[in-house]
């Protein structure tokens, strides 16, 4: 019988550690960087106690490369970083997309570009999470806004990574990463944990990219299954190919395995949208400002509502398109100079779209959003 879990005050990054461990993560490799360092610290303390491994690599590229290796050996693997480190990880992120290696990458967003403002918040890596690595590739990014949610969304990120055999990004800003809120650690079994599909065939019949599967199971290295892993387009046995049919099919399959399951991957929170005339679309700490602003607007008699994507990538096209047919205006506050607003504009069929932006290292406060809401009244 699971005992009642005690409420404790916990930092966002600490909750990320709890989420990773809850999901069964046994391997962490990375290079510490503000404002994500507490994740590396936490994993370095906790993993050795449960038979896991922590390794600090020579840099961020080494961190994700080692995590890819850990995952290929069958362990749920994590790396965490912030903007400058996320830039360095992009090459290996694309490798993991094409080689179809489950992996969770946390990016705690700080001010940029370059080393920018290490201790200040930002949401300017929204497009980088989707397009940072070259080539067409699938991208899944989850965007928690509350400390408790960092735990649950980190678990979901591992589940999505294992289920769809792809890297998944946990994307949140410095405010959410460093703030402390009371949370409870869920009891074992309370949250669903997805483990990697077992390979059932014999080693000599195994193909890591067997096109008969939508998502071929991945055999752990060291268990008798020998196969090739490469960042080149490959055949079903993993060796490189120049055959255009196989290149095209491989590239399409890694996209299709995500596109065919959008309804399972998408996740949104909706507040007051039933009768809203003005909607706000926001993520992370900005969504918390937006929620405050929407409640204030309601108390002023303005019918406002909030759509908060918890899955930012793939972008919630359907939800935004439907919303845009019902409301007069959509306001998109984000701590960058206009990234998510471009996606909202792309999906919006009718409503006017207005961005509210800020890049001075200060959060977008509720007052700024209330002003934007009032401008449509």
């Amino acid at each position: 019988m699971a005992e009642k879990q005690k409420k404790r005050l916990m930092q966002g990054n600490e909750a990320c550690v709890e989420g990773a461990l809850y999901a069964g993560c046994k391997f962490y490799a990375g290079y510490p960087i503000t404002p994500s360092t507490e994740i590396a610290e936490g994993m370095s303390v906790r993993l050795p106690k449960i038979g896991g491994k922590f390794i600090q690599m020579e840099d961020e590229i080494g961190g994700i490369a080692a995590a890819i290796g850990g995952s290929l050996a069958g362990l749920k693997s994590l790396t965490a970083t912030s903007g400058p480190g996320f830039s360095l990880k992009q090459e290996c992120l694309g490798y993991a997309c094409l080689a179809e290696i489950p992996l969770v990458i946390v990016n705690v967003m700080r001010g940029g570009p370059s080393t920018g403002y290490p201790t200040g918040p930002s949401q300017a890596d929204i497009m980088q999470a989707k397009w940072g690595t070259h080539g067409d590739h699938p991208a899944i990014a989850v965007t928690p806004a509350y400390v408790q949610e960092i735990l649950t969304e980190t678990v979901r990120a591992f589940n999505l990574a294992e289920k769809y055999r792809t890297p998944v990004i946990v994307l949140y800003d410095e405010i959410v990463g460093h703030m402390r809120e009371p949370i409870t650690i869920p009891a074992p079994g309370e949250l669903a944990v997805v483990d990697r599909e077992k390979v059932t065939c014999k080693p000599d019949e195994y193909f890591p990219y067997d096109e008969r599967f939508e998502i071929p199971p991945l055999a752990p290295f060291g268990t008798g299954y020998r196969f090739h892993v490469t960042g080149l387009n490959h055949k079903k046995d993993g060796f490189p190919t120049n055959d255009s049919k196989q290149i095209g099919e491989g590239n399409m399959r890694i996209m299709r395995k995500i596109d065919n399951h959008l309804d399972e991957i998408w996740k949104n929170e909706e507040i007051g949208l039933e009768d809203a005339e003005i909607a706000v679309v926001a993520i992370g700490s900005t969504a918390r400002s937006a929620r405050y602003a929407v409640n204030e607007a309601r108390s002023m008699g303005i019918k406002a509502g909030l759509l908060r994507p918890l899955t930012l990538w793939p972008f919630p096209d359907k939800a935004v398109t439907e919303l845009s047919k019902r409301v007069k205006a959509i306001i998109v506050p984000e701590m960058n100079l206009g990234q998510m607003v471009l996606e909202v504009q792309r999906c919006s069929k009718k409503a006017e779209v207005l961005g509210v932006h800020r890049v001075d290292g200060e959060p977008i406060n509720p007052g700024q959003i209330i002003e934007a809401i009032k401008s449509f009244k």
């Binding site: 409420k7 404790r8 005050l9 503000t34 290490p118 201790t119 405010i175 460093h178 703030m179 402390r180 809120e181 009371p182 700490s285 918390r288 400002s289 929620r291 405050y292 409640n295 959060p363 406060n365 509720p366 007052g367």
Partner: protein, 181 residues
């Protein structure tokens, strides 16, 4: 807005302002029956520079985690006071360390002064407990959390060898605040 109680602890990096914020949040949310969110803002340096921690306390769920209209702000240094006092609301409290803050800002808030760091030194022989004295002062002045809750929160964060010292620091804060009300 009236449902939120907003506190800001400001001083120089290394003075324990973030720890004070954490302890206040725990007093409210773990040892009390409220919701609390603690956030912080600091520079790249681990010592020096202006540093602040904010705590929002409410009986409702807390959305915006940063201060908007501060009910009570602590300023341990002149730099922090000058930089951060602007958000103290009309009728709010600005608690200053009188030895440090000489240029006292004017506004529609109530300024309360106490030689916090000097008292830590002369009464308890440890500058390091100035932040705990501050928690005692703020608890007594505002009543935002109970004496029992703040004491439980302080003691849970302190190594066993320093329990008595911190208890005394907190009590010094409670007692000194009574004369300041």
């Amino acid at each position: 807005m009236s449902k939120r109680y907003e506190l800001r602890f400001s001083g120089s990096g290394g003075q324990g302002m973030i720890l004070a914020g954490i302890i206040m949040a725990e007093a409210a949310a773990i040892y009390g029956d409220k919701n609390a969110v603690q956030s912080q803002s600091y520079g790249p340096e681990s010592r020096g520079g202006a540093s602040k921690a904010e705590v929002i306390i409410s009986s409702q769920p807390i959305d915006y985690p940063k201060a908007t209209a501060i009910d009570c702000m602590l300023a341990m240094t002149q730099e922090a006071c000058t930089k951060y006092h602007g958000d103290v609301k009309d009728g709010g409290i600005l608690l200053i360390d009188t030895d440090e803050v000489k240029d006292v800002p004017k506004g529609k808030f109530k300024v309360i002064g106490f030689p916090i760091t000097a008292a830590a030194n002369s009464e308890l022989g440890k500058t390091i407990v100035a932040n705990i004295i501050s928690l005692g002062l703020i608890t007594e002045l505002t009543g935002v959390v109970t004496h029992e809750a703040i004491e439980a929160a302080v003691l849970s964060r302190v190594p066993p060898a320093f329990l008595e010292l911190n208890k005394k620091a907190l009590q010094l804060g409670f007692d000194s605040a009574k004369a300041l009300k």
